[in-house]
Amino acid sequence: MTAPSPLIPRRLVAGFVAGFAILAVLPVGVELSPYAHNLLTSSFIMIAGVLAWNWMGGFVGQVSFGHASLFGVGAFVSARLMLSVHLPVPACWLAGAVCAGVFALAAHPMLRLRGPYFSIATIGFGEISRQVLTYWERFTGGASGLSLPIDAVLKYQLYWWALGFAVLVALASVAIRRSSLGLKLLAIKADADAAADVGISTTFYQDVIFMLSGTVVGLSGGLWASYFGFIEPSDMLGFDRSIAFVLMAVVGGIGTSLGPVLGAVVFVLVRTYLLASYPELYLGLYGLLLICIILFEPLGLTGLGLRVVAAVQRARRRRSREVV
């Protein structure tokens, strides 16, 4: 593997900036239906969440099946603060994020496990969090959950909060990947023992990444709580939600720095479409999609896109050769 080139093709930077700009002014320029507005907002939140999941699952190669617990802790802490203490909403989000980050540190002893052992341990971690938080009904409202105060203005503005957040997390993903930290993570992913031999403290870097990942996922949980207006433990902390993070990353392209973005967009759109149009086939179609991706394109949509690009380039080269 060659060292990452310091230069990013200008076209891509331009594309990124243009995309961001378009999305930022979209609701102002065009009259978006509230439904589309909401869909985009939830996509942005999910993008941020799955990118942070990917730091752990993709960059370090530690596939977590328990990230829902961090998402849930962030959401419930910020919701509880909004309901009981009436702090400004962004402060509540931040507090939730910090709590989720600290909570992630509780996973410290699990970090020396690798492969399926780590994954199974995170399942246990997630289930414990879900059951305890569901039982703790004074804090979470039990299985009935919490309804947040209704704030139409905030819900409208959330679009930009979420967009900004997603873009920041995307930039952070690229930055981590390109930094020396990113290289160390790659070394840990390739061979933890060898990495330790050359002086990389595997547990320290995993702790750092898991905490960062937890903080960001917790923050996305807080935004989600504000966006949805209602949260309950079995949805926020359930096994299905943990799986959803894995699913988005895999669909988009696990381990690529920005591939999961695609996964999140597809996940939100497909889920919404299928649930409304084919509720009776929703799960099965999802399952088939998953099976096909795993069997035929391990890098997900990113891999598929790369193949298409490669094929186009090959065809172009061939044509230019013919011309010559």
Partner: protein
């Protein structure tokens, strides 16, 4: 004192149920190093098979066990041949096999929903509400049968693995697949058979489950998670380990009522899972592959 005996009996019965659920998952992991995330789905399919045989054909659920075992064996072989086999070897650790089999589970769930709707079903027989007095405690007949079958499966599996040609081959493959190829064992075939047997065990667990609890297409998630706990505790891939671990989990859950609210007793199992993984990644009894 009576309360203690009551709880002991309850724990042993619960252990029977946990053990039947976990054998299949443990066997497949022990040999193929694949975490069968479709396990919960197969349990659900087994429950529906038993229910259909009972409702439509009037076959007693316990007599239906061989039929269900055969059918889910076929399902397992098909799953292996069509899907699992195509994964790169050693993919067990990666999310690939987990997600592939999770996809299978979603498909199974959807098929069951299309065939049987989402309503709760239960297998109801003449003896499903009967109970017997044992050690001064009421014990449901269906739970006793489950315990008996759990023990029978453990003994049979142990015998098959130790005494038969197939069993020896399975154990050899579990220990070192590469050298098996050298001595002429068809590793692919062994993998396929093991996956089939593991799935058959899950199917049987499904029938037994259906005689005790109501079920619907979404059932299986908590059974899968519980099986994880038992299999990890027993040392991934050890049959006796699974049986003993089932008893430990059941005892821990039942007796934790003294210190915990009833709601949180099932959490104890997951706590055990995490603690054991962290402290003894090889399971409570050390890593022994199919001993």
């Amino acid at each position: 004192m009576t309360r203690f005996v009551d709880m002991l009996v309850a724990a042993v019965l619960l252990a029977g149920l946990y053990a039947t659920m976990a054998y299949g998952l443990g066997l497949i992991y022990g040999v193929l190093r694949v975490v069968n995330l479709a396990h919960g789905g197969v349990i659900m399919v087994g429950a529906y098979l038993g229910w259909v045989l009972h409702e439509r054909l009037g076959i007693d659920p316990y007599l239906a066990i061989p039929i269900v075992a055969l059918a889910s064996f076929g399902l397992g072989v098909a799953m292996y041949a069509l899907l699992v086999q195509r994964l790169p070897r050693g993919a067990a650790g990666g999310p690939a096999s987990l997600l592939l089999l999770f996809g299978v589970w979603l498909v199974l769930r959807n098929i069951a929903y299309l065939l049987f709707t989402g309503n709760d079903q239960a297998i109801r027989t003449a003896y499903s509400t009967q109970s017997r007095m044992i050690l001064g405690t009421h014990v449901a007949v269906s739970r006793l049968v489950v315990l008996g079958i759990a023990l029978a499966i453990a003994v049979t599996l142990q015998l098959v693995l130790r005494r038969t040609q197939l069993g020896r081959a399975i154990r050899a493959v579990a220990q070192n697949a590469d050298s098996c190829t050298l001595v002429g064992i068809d590793v692919r075939r062994i993998y396929m058979l093991t996956f089939g047997i593991g799935t058959a065990l899950a199917g049987v667990a499904g029938v037994l489950f259906a005689t005790i609890f109501p079920f619907n297409p979404a059932s299986g998630a908590s059974e899968l998670l519980k099986s994880f706990v038992v299999v990890v505790l027993g040392g991934l891939g050890s049959i006796t380990g699974v049986a003993v671990a089932a008893l430990i989990v059941a005892l821990a859950e039942v007796f934790s009522i003294f210190v915990l609210p009833a709601y949180l007793t099932t959490t104890v199992g997951f706590l055990l899972l995490v603690v054991v993984l962290v402290l003894r990644p090889g399971g409570l009894f050390g890593q022994r592959v199919l001993s």
